[in-house]
Amino acid sequence: MKQALETFTYYFDIVLLVYTISICSSYMMLAFVSARALISYKRENAYTDYREILASPLTPGVSLIAPAYNESLTIVENVKSLLSLQYPQLEIVVVNDGSKDDTLQKLIDNYDLELIPYAYDARIAHKPIRGIYKSKHSIFDKLLVVDKNNGGKADALNSGLNVASGKYAACIDVDCVLSQDALLKMVKPFMESENRAIAVGGVIRIANSCVIEDGFLKAVQVPDNMLARFQVMEYSRAFLMGRMGWSKADGLLLISGAFGLFDKEIAVACGGYDHSTVGEDMELIVRMRSYMIERGEQYTVSFIPDPLCWTEAPSTNKVLGRQRNRWMRGTIETLLMHKRMFFNPKYRILGMLSYPYWFFFEWLAPVVEVFGLVYFLLLALLDLPNWPYFFALMGSVYAFALMMSMAAILFDEMSYYQYTRWKDIRKLIVAAILEPFFHHPKVVWWGIRGNLDFVQGKKSWGEMTRTGFNTQKKA
């Protein structure tokens, strides 16, 4: 029995070691590729005059689709902010997804909307549209409000895709604050790509403690709330050191639902957003990519590192837990829906690298981590652990995490220099030191809960309560 246990622990240790080395190496490789891509992007765009897009007849039309559900408190300000975006051929489609509050009435009153006879091509199925509204005033000419029965975010976005008339569709969360030139920057990869660009994503930044004035970002600050600050670290690592690298390697599987720009024709042709998953943003990208590959068409999915979209991060464990739980379920659902890609050379880098990465290091990482912990506790009960090795390994994992977080702070500093105060750098360093002790265990737990909820067939989004931005209004 003892020998069998020893043999098991020997091989299991090797499996864990290989897993750890693989995950750490992939993070480092991604960071390296991201750094090169970031430098290259900055150099290429040093010559870009985005104002040229504003005046050019070659500029493609963009429809910005913003689903709104029970957003009565902020909808007027949010739409005002969207209306002020710099883009010449812009249409803003706000979809009221059957709100129970007076979201629609607020829009009607503030923008003087009236019901119009708008014919749209219902190529994607969604819950019935009750009416489409447009303002009586030409200054709000860009605004179109769709009122429909409640069907969830994916359903609202699908109705927006049907109604939209632009060549490209930007899907956003209505409560995000976009930088004024966000669309100008996002549309460029579509125009400069030799192959057909089907989707472009940008960096999502955390706006907690930032100063927002009349829907515009006025001052950037590191959040005072520690939980939000940990998320700043996570977002920097994920976007600047992860997605940038995947984009360069042509293996990007996720464009955040908070802000992404899509080739509308392809998004509609492959069926739009899937209602059956809570990870509809990732699922759409995977489906669009497989659609193009299966048709043998050359295409690109790009990611740009500019800080274009600012969002409020959850500032309580309860809300953050729900969000991470949902993200995990969305990942699992998407991976299972597209399991044919797993190590399938037909899907090139997507099948051979991106999908396995997400499978092993995004889906299974919390499972492996918890399994390792249980295994260690069992060994401890049997008095088998080699304690010096245990502490040394823990130390190496912590040192690695710290190194990656410090690299993220450096990336942030050298790319877009968002946090200009010394105080902010200090806050980020403190967050980097504390995160592995106080935040990471919770993230693992939420990941496990996501797995368990998935097994139990839970499909809900979970309520996302927000405390609101640090807003100031002009006198």
Binding site: R43, E44, A46, Y47, E52, I53, A55, S56, P57, L58, T59, P60, G61, V62, S63, Q89, L90, E91, I116, P117, Y118, A119, Y120, D121, K134, D141, S165, G166, K188, F190, M191, E192, S193, E194, P388, Y389, A392, L393, G395, S396, A399, F400, L402, M403, S405, M406, A407, I409, L410, E413, M414, Y417, W422, I425, I429
Partner: protein
């Protein structure tokens, strides 16, 4: 005892006590922590460097601005008799100094024209910054080549066009794009379009946009035809030519565009028809209306836009197009119908949509003139 000795002793102890595995982990921790410190130091240094850059820029501005202002607005004979103060010339020894000053005058020159620009360009030459920019064309790194081309273009150094021409098919798109702009702007004004004969890479929409903006900003009046590009083997150049022809109102090109409207390539047909539409040519109405039924959906849409824009008035054509069940085409067809009898529209045509709520909705949409598709 120095820290290196301490580390060596500790490693030996670990190796003896726990074996090579532990030693490996120790070095791993050491490396990660060391790198974390390096990244932290780089972050702090980067911040300090940014602050130093700001200070340096202010210092340079304080040094160069009075000289440049005097040069631009007071010095009347600088072009004939250029004299550079020693304190300026002596500060341009290193590459960094040259680059900083070049950036400054290139940026300044962007907003200037006429004599003021000529003075800056003279200064650029006298200080041998032109040679500095030319030397960048031979750099091995693409972004340095791209910046060299940009500087020479901005400072309008016509003599360098031959060097730049060699970079028109550079593997890096930015070098190519900057070279295209430079050759277009610096090349022989009587034959600007010749540059397109040398381009083998496809022109992306972004490159086309930059070229168009360049042509526009120079108030180009020497190009009254782009037809020489229409039959380029590089399809993207033909598309660019068609687009420019219509944007610059080259009515001379109408016969060539008419011929292209039946070209075997779908994209060229589409662009040619849209080009004719923008030029206001209405001679193709009947031909294109007849061609409509045989066309792909993309070209059908272009034809429908053309016919609407040019005021085509065959009611039966719009009626049958309305019933095609292709949303965008039906919508345009309904807008075509709306023009015939706007007072009674859509009532007069509602019978077409008998039992078809989609058609009825499209007719109602077309009746509302505010509803524009982007």
């Amino acid at each position: 005892m120095n820290p290196v000795d301490n580390v060596a002793i500790f490693s030996t102890y670990l190796q003896h006590q726990y074996g090579n595995g532990m030693l490996f982990i120790f070095w791993l921790i050491f490396t990660f922590l060391f790198l974390a410190l390096i990244f932290l130091a780089l972050t702090i240094l980067s911040r300090i460097a940014k602050m130093a850059d700001d200070r340096f820029e202010k210092q340079l501005a304080a040094l160069y601005e009075p000289f440049l202002l005097k040069l631009l607005y007071e010095s009347d004979d600088f072009i004939e008799n250029p004299k550079i103060p020693h304190e300026i010339a002596s500060r341009l020894r290193t590459r960094f100094q040259k680059q900083t000053f070049t950036n400054l005058i290139v940026k300044l020159n962007k907003g200037l024209d006429g004599e003021l620009s000529l003075k800056l360009r003279t200064l650029y030459r006298v200080l041998k910054l032109e040679a500095f920019s030319i030397s960048k064309l031979h750099a091995k790194v693409w972004h340095i080549q791209a910046s060299g081309i940009d500087e020479l273009r901005e400072m309008r150094i016509v003599e360098t066009v031959e060097y730049i021409q060699k970079l028109l098919n550079h593997p890096n798109w930015l070098v190519r794009s900057n070279a295209q702009l430079a050759v277009l702007e610096l090349g022989n004004p009587d034959n600007r379009l010749r540059l397109f004969e040398s381009i083998t890479f496809p022109l992306t929409d972004w490159e086309q946009l930059r070229l168009h903006e360049s042509l526009k900003s120079r108030n180009e009046d020497k190009i009254n035809s782009f037809s020489s590009l229409f039959h380029s083997a590089n399809q993207s150049i033909a598309v660019f030519g068609i687009r420019m022809s219509s944007f610059f109102g080259c009515t001379n090109d109408i016969p060539d565009l008419q011929a292209l409207s039946s070209h075997p390539r779908e994209h060229l047909r589409e662009e040619a028809i849209l080009g004719l539409m923008r030029l206001g040519d209405f001679q193709m109405q009947e031909i294109l209306a007849d061609q409509f039924g045989l066309e792909t959906q993309v070209v059908q849409l272009a034809i429908m836009q053309y016919l609407l824009q040019t005021g085509y008035d065959r009611l039966s054509f719009y009626s049958s197009a309305l019933l095609l069940n292709k949303h965008e085409i039906s919508l345009l067809a309904a807008k075509g119908l709306a023009r015939f009898d706007s007072d009674n529209f859509p009532a007069d045509y509602e019978h077409l949509g008998l039992n078809q709520p989609v058609i009825a909705a499209i007719l109602a949409h077309a009746a509302d003139r505010r509803l524009q598709r982007i």
